[in-house]
Amino acid sequence: MCCKHTVQNSILTPMREYVTDDIIYALATPWAQSALAVIRVSGEGCKALLATRFSRPKSLKEAGNATLVHGYLQDEAGKKIDEVVAAVYTEGHGYTLEEALEFSCHGSLAVIKEILSLFSQLGMRSAEGGEFTFRAFLHGRLDLTQAEAVQELVVSQSERSRALALGRLEGSLKERISSLKQQLMQIMAAVEVQLDYAEDELDEFVFPRTQLVDLIAQLHHLSETYQVGKLYKSGARIVLAGSTNAGKSSLFNLLLKQERSIVSPINGTTRDYIEADLSIEGIPIRLYDTAGLRESSDSVEREGIKRTERLIGQADLVVFLVDSTLMGHVPEEDERTLVVYNKSDLAKPPKGKLAISAQSGEGVDRLLHEISTRLTSGFSVSADELLIIESERQYQLLNASEEALGRALTLVDEDIPLDITAVELGEALDNLGQLTGEVTPSDILETIFSGFCVGK
């Protein structure tokens, strides 16, 4: 039951290489042209060191915690590199709990490059991936779930995913798991007291079966959110398919709101496929515009069609466009296939069917919503769920916990002795403990003593 050994964990594997007593820096915003960029520095002595390259050295050196200092970063000769605002954190504060600075500078690549090389010349070290998080973890700023959430926050691709990661940081997942852990500890205490005291010293024992069944359901619900989390994090592949000239490329362009594929009225213009990233109701989507499906003697086109078929095989969702003016082949709708009637402005599509006009944009909003509904439809939890599991590790631990409890329930129903049932409960608790923190035997005893009248 002792599960403080969670240190053999993914977070700790790379850290063996980390040194913790120097100053590290890194660009905290993406390496891209933008209005603003943030460069982060952490380590004892960083204020004094950077003051030597700052237009207002005294102000920077003496700045208190959580203050902003405006000024210019300049090179050794005193030439101004950029106008910046430095956010100052003193030791014990800020993300890493070390003395740290965050420079907001202009987001041109040239400026960023120049600042980073200045920092390097000062003898600071470019941080390795996750190193700020590691320092935060090392200084006790974060527990494992929080540390993982930080990593996810950094790599999250979409707005929704970012919001979820932020929620986790504030500890809502931690709270939920703590509550599950509490419930499990109550069940364990009820069992352990039977094992710690002789049968004639205790009241008649009835296994808290209802509580166990309820707990399994709660665990199942939480671990199911992983599917949702995965969708918002990794996204889905959607393939636009349909006969030639059904308007796939028009829809593709409309969705991307940019002229990317060649749209022309000649059949088979799009001979290969084109892909692009977009976001539909918060879900990151990779959209493929494909060659039209039809018999062709053109070998290049035939190859294109072959690739289309392969893409369709791998897609999470296929949007099959039907030309309402021609109709022709209409595939069966299924989980993975969404049939959409295009050119609703030219011909009336069948009643009750999803219809759009890629030309006028009519019905596209409904299509987008339908796509999002389809992608999330297999889940027993709704995408509006506030708490969503995104990390594979968390998912596996929750799953392992749920499975162990399932086995415990079977043992209870088969009337197997409690000492074995207790092993399964212990395993479930161990897995939960690995998520947010240990459960020690004394915690269990504490629960026993506070809830049961025991002792001769």
């Binding site: 494992l144 088969e414 395993e427 004394s442 002792g455």
Partner: protein
């Protein structure tokens, strides 16, 4: 030097420590305040119970004495929690307290290397550095030198008993406490604290109405605690069960202000798992009755022990509430219930060998370390004795792991976490209790006892024979077919038992019951034991990362302030132990692993 070793105290820890030292071959002196009080069962007249019965058998497997003493003094034998599974069931026996104590003294007296002396130790002799112990000073001003000392003071160090408004400097009722030693230890910088425990009243058998009570008989067949012989046969007497009632509770509630516990006279912390009746009434107001076991204190005495209603209320209140209980209406109280408060030394100041970190050559065991219970005391006394002997021989200490003995769990808990209340063993304190079954203690420990010079060649060969027989039974089961599968596979099913197999495999009847029982459990629990084995492998990885005793935690940057403080206090011997210290964070452990991995302080 006058002696190789001195053992202070003749209770359950002192008995094991002095026997271990003298049997291993060292000239040993046991000093006790009262030669007639050796091996007394101060509280309930029983040995064993859940996890405690396992400890008795661990002590036996290592070469200790407790199992022999109870085997030859028991007056009732029971196996507890049969229905809850073999991993948690354990033997418990009522003892004839006179026979038990007499046998204990006889056993000590029969050791030629062991001397006994009646006096009270009041201080230690230290060498000029002040860091090494060289002997003891007694109340009657004897100065006795020795290379090692084992301290087992029980409840006697500055002991004080309470009965309502009455208090007295006693360790047991009317037995003077050892005054001076606790104060001198405080002066020398030992972390001394106060704990409290209690005992119920003893009543006269002929004044009780057993017709109003439930009878509790022992098992038909007595089984020995010791692995040295297969059977014992002694006459058994019954225990009885009765209950408190609303009237009892009302009397207690009305007089609660007269309890020294609630009046603030007692400062020591009492055990939550074994509360006094006034605690139970206050903490569980919804319960309308509490169970009482009425247990004989021995043959040839009328005293009966009222298990479940220990108290420190005044005697007139005890008189009233005892008489409100069914069957006890006319009970003659022969000894009153009382609470006792005593000095203990924070066991975090000990190494896992039970040697003091403050003063070399001083070993401390038993209630002095904050535990409660005869069995808990005995196993510590034995380990302190063994390790004091190892020290005298210049050999490394014997430290039992959490996955091989409850004794290992107990000592690791004490030295790692300390204790705030009298520490009692529970099966739930052990992470790997499936491996700590009482019937297999010999397989885990006999050889260790042999290697330190305490177990005999004979015990070792007995164990080998047992293992061979178990293998023979397993082979037999592997060879025989039952329907479509081998008998050993069939045995894994819940409905198949060794007894049912015996019908189709008559050869099985040629093997002793304990052999067949163990094979049955091994087979039935194999899957779970294997799963636990994987956890144990992970556990052992951290245990095997040794930290040297002079490790400089101050030089390790990044440790949390609290973690650093706790690590310096406990000085864990491994990263595994460090990870169990409360206040040491995961990040501290991570840092330690990183640091140890880089070389520097790794020891294998």
């Amino acid at each position: 030097m006058d002696y190789d070793a001195i053992v202070v105290g003749g209770g359950h820890a002192g008995i094991e420590a002095s026997l271990a030292l003298s049997r291993i071959g060292f000239k040993t002196l046991l000093i006790t305040q009262n030669l007639d009080a050796i091996g007394r069962l101060s509280c309930n007249p029983a040995i064993g119970g859940l996890s405690k019965g396992n400890i008795v058998r661990e002590v036996d497997a290592l070469g200790g004495e407790m199992a022999h003493l109870i085997d030859h003094s028991m007056i009732q034998y029971r196996i507890l929690n049969r229905r809850r599974g073999p991993a948690v069931q354990a033997p418990r026996a009522q003892a004839d307290k006179f026979t038990y104590a007499r046998l204990a003294k006889e056993t000590l007296e029969s050791e030629h290397n062991l001397s006994l002396f009646m006096d009270t130790v009041v201080d230690f002799l230290l060498d000029p550095t002040g860091k090494r112990l060289t002997g003891v000073i007694t109340e009657r001003q004897h100065t006795i030198s020795a290379n090692v000392v084992v301290l087992t003071t029980g409840t006697f160090m500055e002991g004080k008993i309470f009965i309502g408004e009455y208090d007295a400097p006693n360790g047991r009722l009317d037995e003077p406490s050892a005054i001076g030693l606790g104060t001198n230890l405080r002066k020398k910088g030992f972390p001394v604290g106060r704990l409290k425990t209690g005992t119920p009243a003893r009543v006269r058998k002929s004044s009780l109405d057993f017709d109003k009570m439930e009878v509790q008989d022992g098992e038909e067949l007595m089984m020995p605690f010791s692995f040295d012989y297969d059977s014992i046969n002694r006459p058994q007497v019954p225990c009885y069960i009765t209950w408190t009632n609303e009237k009892t509770h009302a009397i207690i509630r009305d007089n609660i202000h007269r309890s020294p516990l609630y009046g603030g006279k007692i400062v020591g912390t009492g055990p939550r798992y074994c509360p006094s009746i006034e605690d139970k009434v206050v903490r569980f107001p919804d319960r309308n009755r509490h169970q009482i076991f009425v247990e004989p204190e021995g043959i040839g005495t009328e005293e009966m022990y009222l298990n479940g209603i220990s108290s420190s209320l005044p005697e007139d209140v005890q008189w009233d509430f005892v008489h409100s209980i069914e069957g006890l209406e006319h009970a003659q109280i022969m000894r009153p219930a009382y609470a006792v408060e005593y000095d203990f030394i924070n066991p975090q100041a000990l190494y896992p060998s039970l040697e003091s970190k403050l003063v070399e050559n001083l070993f401390i065991a038993g209630q002095t370390n904050g535990t409660s219970g005869y069995e808990e005391a005995a196993c510590q006394g034995l380990m302190a004795g063994i390790n004091a002997a190892q020290k005298l021989k210049g050999e490394p200490p014997l430290v039992l792991s959490r996955n091989e003995a409850y004794t290992g769990v107990l000592i690791d808990d004490l030295v790692t976490m300390g204790t705030k209340e009298p520490y009692r063993m529970f099966t739930s304190r052990a992470e790997y209790r499936l491996n700590l079954r009482h019937d297999s203690c010999d397989q885990r420990l006999t050889e260790k006892g042999f290697r330190v010079g305490l177990q005999s060649e004979e015990s070792l060969s007995r164990l080998r024979q047992k293992l061979e027989k178990m293998e023979t039974v397993k082979d037999l089961l592997r060879q025989r077919k039952l329907a479509d599968k081998s008998a050993i596979q069939a045995l894994k099913m819940p409905e198949v038992t060794m007894a049912s197999l015996q019908e189709s495999i008559p050869e099985l009847s040629g093997f002793e019951e304990p052999i067949k029982y163990q094979v049955e459990l091994d087979v039935k629990y194999e899957g779970y034991i294997n799963r636990q084995e994987r956890q144990i492998n992970r556990f052992e990885k951290l245990e095997s990362l040794h930290i040297s005793q002079d490790f400089d935690y101050d030089a390790l940057d990044g440790l949390s302030t609290e973690g650093k403080e706790k690590l310096k206090l406990v000085r864990p011997i491994s990263v595994g132990q460090a990870s169990r210290i409360s206040g040491v964070r995961n990040s501290d452990i991570a840092l330690l692993i990183v640091h140890l991995d880089r070389g520097g302080h790794r020891e294998r």
